[in-house]
């Protein structure tokens, strides 16, 4: 199971890198979204996908899944959510002000202000 997950995560990273190297700003932001998906899945996978019930003490089970990576992922998700929201708004403002979505045209010389 871990091997399958690793391959899928690898594909996510590959598409994230591909998108982040493109010229359109929106594609770059989609790439960062995929990148954080990959990172979160990786956190889940690397901590082990052994069988066990959900981490609720009410289940009274023999074995539980590891609760720590789940807490870490939850934290990382809200952080990347906040950053992505901010990034999208900055991209929107930049589109309004600079009038372009092309990252190549956002090159500035030293003197203009």
């Amino acid at each position: 199971m871990e091997i399958l997950m690793s391959i899928v995560i690898g594909l996510l990273f590959a598409s994230a890198v591909y998108l982040m190297l493109s010229k359109s700003l929106l594609r770059i932001i989609i790439g960062t979204g995929l990148l954080s998906h990959g990172a979160h899945l990786m956190l889940l996978t690397l901590a082990g996908l052994k069988r066990g019930t959900v981490p609720l003490l009410g289940e009274n089970a023999q074995a539980y899944t590891d609760p720590i990576p789940q807490a870490l992922i939850l934290t990382a998700i809200v952080i990347s959510f906040g950053v992505t929201a901010f990034f999208l708004v900055v991209a929107y403002r930049a589109y309004q002000e600079l009038g372009t979505d092309n990252i190549d045209e956002m090159r500035g010389t030293e003197t203009d202000d």
Binding site: I28, L43, L46, P69, V83, F87, V90
Partner: protein
């Protein structure tokens, strides 16, 4: 008082929240933020004194015993950095009063600066690797806002790049933590160190060490990873870059210092050698770029790159001399870079341009500014009575002791380039024909000089009383060389 070490995190946090309620009342905001940052600075000094008396301070949040809960650890190194950081933030806040402008001040500027300090102080103090990630994000999120606040074209353009680089490096940080967790099964830094020592750092752990170097190198700006820094630091106004240049990259350097002395010190032939090579290339490229530009802000930005290289070279060499040199140089560089960026901000405000060829003879109208600038250049280059000397000489001595003559010589020669790069600015803009400049009466330069002179006095006394400072630095380096001291303090052995 056991909660002392959390105060430098909590005071700015509460202040930031309070400041949100007074968004439109600029005078109240200024008072509150200046007073609370003074409070943070004073508590950090008390903390410093307490560590000097009683050794490493730890605090288990919520009374959970050490490896299970989050532990805050304040050893001498982190306390010194927290104190320096708060001091610089205080000066930057005072400098902001006259320079940042009402529009930005009404838009939660002081609140965000306080949040930035929460992140910086937290990252210096935490003893948990994932908590460090969270404090990094607190710091970065505030820095994103500070970078774009005001919304000019250049700020929007550069903050997109800055955001993209840091989002990527944060994802890499999560991945690095995931790898580390899968191998050692712990997040507490002392516990991780112990488990890595038990396993003797197998090859895969060295891979994680390099991954951490990439993550922190992206934050700190070492050789192949500093591409984002010159553009991004060029965009925001002077007090904000002073904060960034003094604090943000140094948090990355501190993290390299912490992980490479606490976690990954078993296979030094590979990891530390890599760090040395990267640092030397950083220094060389930074020096070349510092003399290539004619814009004062660019020159100082590339001097950050040179300084980062010098500090990481000391970390890579990893003996007592070079480590204490790195700590000396780290603190010196935080203070002097803040002062230099403020001076550059004042010069740009007076003349309206950053290019030093477009004006001359400023010393006729602004003598005090000129002499402070002159002193800060000498301190940056490392002229003996001033603050940059002792750190650099210790790092070079550490390099010679390890037989790395090329590296130590590169460190020493880089001083020459640093001195030349800024002295050229001084000679061209302050000397010469006074007709090239005129008094700009719109700016109260004498008021702006107060925080700059405070920083310069701190820098000079740091150099003159280096014997006294050395007591503290020695304690900081003891913990870096013997990770067992850190582990024992955290895990209560």
């Amino acid at each position: 008082m056991i909660n002392l070490l959390i105060l430098p995190i909590v005071i700015p946090l509460i202040t930031a929240v309070i400041l949100m309620f007074f968004a439109k009342k600029v005078t109240i905001q200024r008072w509150i933020s200046a007073i609370s940052m003074t409070g943070t600075f004073i508590t950090s000094l008390i903390l410093l004194h307490k560590i000097d008396q009683n050794g490493i301070q730890t605090l288990n949040l919520g009374n959970w015993p050490a490896p299970f809960g989050i532990t805050l650890v304040s050893d001498m190194l982190s306390a010194l950095l927290v104190a320096t950081g708060s001091f610089i933030a205080l000066c930057c806040i005072l400098f902001s009063f006259g320079t940042i402008g009402r529009a930005r001040e009404k838009f939660y500027y002081y609140s965000i600066v306080q949040f930035l300090m929460v992140g910086v102080n937290g990252a210096f103090t935490t003893g948990d690797i994932f908590n460090m990630f969270v404090f990094f994000e607190v710091m970065l999120m505030s820095s994103y806002v500070l970078m774009v606040i005001g919304g000019t074209k250049i700020q929007l353009r550069e903050s997109i790049k800055y955001l993209l680089v840091n989002v990527t490096s944060s994802a890499l940080f999560v991945i690095a933590v995931a790898y580390l967790y899968s191998m050692v099964g712990s997040l507490n830094m002392a516990h991780i160190s112990e488990r890595i020592a038990e396993a003797g750092q197998p090859g895969i752990m060295t891979v994680v060490a390099v991954l951490f170097l990439i993550v922190f190198g992206l934050k700190g700006g070492i050789f192949p990873l500093f591409f984002w820094l010159p553009g991004s630091y060029y965009a925001p106004p002077a007090p904000i870059i002073a904060l960034f240049g003094a604090l943000l990259t140094k948090v990355g350097v501190y993290s390299i210092l912490r992980t490479y002395t606490l976690f990954f010190y078993h296979d030094q032939g590979f990891t530390h050698e890599l760090l040395i090579i990267l640092s030397l290339i950083t220094i060389v490229l930074g020096s070349i770029a510092a003399i290539a530009y004619k814009d004062i802000k660019k020159i100082i930005i590339y001097n950050i790159v040179v300084a980062i290289g010098i500090i990481t070279y000391g970390i890579g060499t990893m003996n007592a001399d070079s480590l204490s040199g790195s700590v000396f140089y780290l603190i010196h560089d935080m203070i002097i870079k803040a002062a230099l960026f403020m001076i550059a901000g004042v010069i740009v405000a007076i003349t309206g341009t950053g290019s030093y060829q477009k004006f001359s003879g400023l010393i006729r109208h602004y003598p005090l500014l000129g002499w402070i600038f002159f002193l800060s250049i000498l301190a940056l280059a490392g002229i003996p009575p001033l603050s940059g000397f002792i750190g650099k000489i210790l790092i070079a001595r550490g390099g010679f002791a390890e037989g790395d003559i090329v590296g130590a010589l590169v460190i020493l020669f880089s001083s020459l380039f640093v001195l030349y790069s800024l002295m050229r600015v001084f000679i061209n803009s302050f000397w010469g024909d006074p007709k090239g400049s005129k008094v700009n009466s719109n700016i109260g330069v004498s008021k702006l000089l107060i925080p700059i002179s405070v920083l310069m006095i701190a820098s000079i006394s740091y150099g003159v009383f280096s014997e006294h400072v050395n007591m503290y630095i020695t304690q900081a380096v003891d913990v870096l060389i013997n990770p067992s001291l850190y582990i024992e303090a955290v895990l209560n052995k």
